[in-house]
């Protein structure tokens, strides 16, 4: 890894989600040198964990694949996975970043043949599927993972299984002695594209996410639809594997609430409207969807999508923030309690499955940035002169859908390009 070349004209992109990829491509395709630092073993970020995209309902894998190809084809881009920026010093035009690279235990000889995975027994929580299932100790994070290279779970190191994996590999790709590395990189500008994470549903105690099996989050629901996901593409209840036809969505689960996240997460209304179509896709006219909401925020052009879902007679909209969820012990059904705003009727409604439309919060905690940055109350990075040559891109700046995240990333790339252009001029 120490062979990476970086100068004051290099643009460092932290986070290889759709925003980081976009910013990297925009800069690299006009000839700038770009290094992408990605924490996970693959690029693509959370978009790779979505089944379909609103508003067009196409598969995000398609757009991701195009961008992955563009990245692979571009020699101006270097991607470093399983890496984090632990230190950042300097000012616009002259930064030094300290990057910690965790061992993958698999080198570039890997052909992703899968022999190592077949050879081992041990299994570990699968973060890609929000821990709904396990992956083998030697694994490919997901089918289309880029780089297409296996990973050895560090928890397996030192066990017999690790040796079995190594012995099974015909290409000498497994190196169990790989160590953590720390490197220093120069950069003229930094694009901070570390994205978001789902709000911790356990904190919303009245909804019983930690107690009631059939209460899940929107990100988990998204994984259920993936044919290669934890349920093999079936919409079923975690408690008993029964088909989940009567599904309730609870909006603003953790958002717009001074007890949790103050901001509107902006995309979750659209996410639930989209996910209501998943239920119809699976169960046709047997689908029975209820959406509990404060108000539906299908912003600007997305209103068409909302109108279409409203016309679906299998989808009911209930204007009410659900007060609490209690499990019916007899059948595992979550019962939703509350009062609706259109008539002030008290309800106790049972559903097969409840999906919490959890909010988006920044993936990096406010006070853990390696350099001082201006952030707002919610921890999203502001656009501010004081941030010098560090520019946020995508969801590190706000809760955004992909379209807006990508636009924002392009703007950030332009800002970063201006900084390194100034350096180039000065250096002659």
């Amino acid at each position: 890894m120490s062979d990476i070349v970086a100068t004051n004209q290099t643009i460092l992109v932290v986070g290889g989600g759709i925003s980081g990829m976009t910013a990297a491509l925009e800069a690299a395709e006009v000839g700038k040198q770009v290094i992408v630092i990605e924490k996970r073993p693959f690029i693509g970020g959370r978009v790779s964990q979505l089944y379909k995209y609103f508003p067009k309902l196409c598969f995000p894998t398609c757009g991701l694949e195009i961008n992955q190809r563009r990245m692979n084809a571009n020699k101006n881009i270097t991607v470093v996975t399983m890496a984090e920026v632990t230190g950042l010093e300097g000012e616009a035009g002259n930064y030094t970043a300290t990057v910690k690279i965790s061992p993958r235990y698999v080198n570039s000889n890997c052909t992703a043949c899968g022999a190592c995975g077949d050879a081992v027994e041990s299994e570990f929580d699968n973060e890609f599927n929000y821990n709904m299932d396990k992956h083998k100790g030697a694994y490919l994070p997901y089918n289309l993972a880029q780089p297409k290279r296996y990973v050895i779970d560090p928890q397996m190191i030192g066990t017999d299984d690790a040796q079995k994996a190594k012995d099974a590999c015909k290409f000498d790709a497994i190196d169990l002695d790989m160590q953590e590395e720390t490197i220093e990189l120069k950069a003229g500008a930094v694009i901070w594209a570390t994205g978001w994470r789902p709000y911790d549903a356990n904190k919303i105690q009245p909804y019983g996410y930690d107690r009631i099996k059939n209460v899940i989050t929107s990100v988990e629901f998204e994984r259920m639809m993936d044919p290669f996901g934890p349920t093999g593409g079936k919409l079923v209840r975690p408690s008993d594997g029964a088909e989940a036809k009567n599904v309730a969505f609870i909006q603003c689960a953790g958002s717009r609430d001074r007890n949790y996240l103050k901001h509107c997460s902006r995309i979750c209304c659209m996410a639930s409207l989209k996910q209501s179509t998943y239920v119809s896709e699976k169960y046709g006219d047997d689908a029975n969807v209820s959406i509990y909401y404060i108000d539906i925020r299908a912003i600007d052009r997305f209103d068409d999508f909302y109108q279409r879902v409203k016309e679906d007679k299998n989808v009911t909209f209930i204007k009410s923030k659900v007060a609490s969820i209690v499990e019916n012990k007899a059948n595992g059904n979550p019962t939703l309690h509350g009062v609706d705003t259109e008539g002030y009727n008290r309800y106790a409604n049972e559903h097969d499955l409840v999906v919490l439309a959890v909010g988006m919060e920044p993936s990096v905690d406010k006070d853990t940035f390696p350099i001082e940055l201006k952030v707002n109350d919610e921890g999203f990075i502001e656009y501010d002169e004081a941030n010098g040559g560090v520019f946020a891109a995508g969801c590190s700046s706000d809760a955004l859908d992909v379209n807006r995240a990508v636009q924002h990333a392009t703007a950030s790339a332009l800002r970063a390009i201006q900084v390194v252009n100034r350096v180039a001029k000065a250096e002659g």
Binding site: P206, C252, R256, D257, R258, N259, I294, K319, S320, K321, V322, A323, S324, H337, G338, V339, D340, T341, Y344, R346
Partner: protein, 204 residues
């Protein structure tokens, strides 16, 4: 506040903002309904808090002030804890109840209203609550025979309170109080005069 906004702010909302404790919060309610659904006594209310706030904004003065609803609040604070906008709902309910009573609009024979008055009168005498007399007046509220029955039912509680020195049988004869209870009464009287004057001048 621009004049445009003022035009749409109805008179009753303004009145509540001016005269009801924490009334200026009413406009902050976003009608999510979580307070109504969280109230353990909610199903006994004619109008849950969320609806009361909407009625205030809709200018339904008589319906709100003569309502039994805010008298149902037991100060459990569930709604305050849950409200996404941190409205002090419990306090607003008590503020509305108090305001309705001051205007003579509180429903007649409302048990909470009746008890509050007994509590207040009891406390104002000596500046401290006389638990024994308060308890007795509560038990004997529906007449002598049911009073004896109620007292017997709660005998054990009374005995325990005495054991824990939370209540003394001597309270029946005079009872404890603050120093110079007369001064306290004067302070409260003055405060009431100031408040009355403010409310009377409202809208003039």
């Amino acid at each position: 506040m621009s004049s445009m906004v003022e035009k749409y702010r109805n008179n009753f909302l303004k009145e509540v903002e001016a005269n009801v404790e924490e009334g200026e919060w009413v406009k902050m309610c976003m009608q999510c309904g979580v307070c109504a659904g969280s109230c353990p006594l909610g199903k006994h209310w004619d109008h849950p808090p969320q609806e009361i706030f909407m009625m205030i904004r809709a200018g339904k003065r008589d319906e709100v002030l003569t309502s039994d609803s805010m008298w149902m609040c037991t100060s459990c604070y569930n709604c305050i804890v849950r409200c996404p906008r941190e409205l002090p709902i419990t306090h607003i309910m008590h503020g509305l109840a108090n305001y309705a009573k001051r205007l003579g609009l509180a429903p007649k024979a409302q048990p909470t209203a009746w008890f509050s008055q007994v509590f207040w009168d009891n406390m104002m005498k000596k500046g401290r609550v006389n638990e024994l007399k308060l308890g007795l007046s509560l038990y004997f509220k529906d007449g002598f025979v049911s009073g004896i029955k109620e007292s017997l039912k709660h005998q054990k509680l009374g005995m325990n309170m005495m054991k824990a020195k939370r209540m003394s049988p001597m309270e029946l004869f005079g009872g404890h109080g603050v120093k110079n209870a007369g001064d306290l009464q004067k302070i409260i009287k003055k405060a009431q005069e100031i408040e009355n004057a403010r409310i009377e001048s409202y809208g003039k």
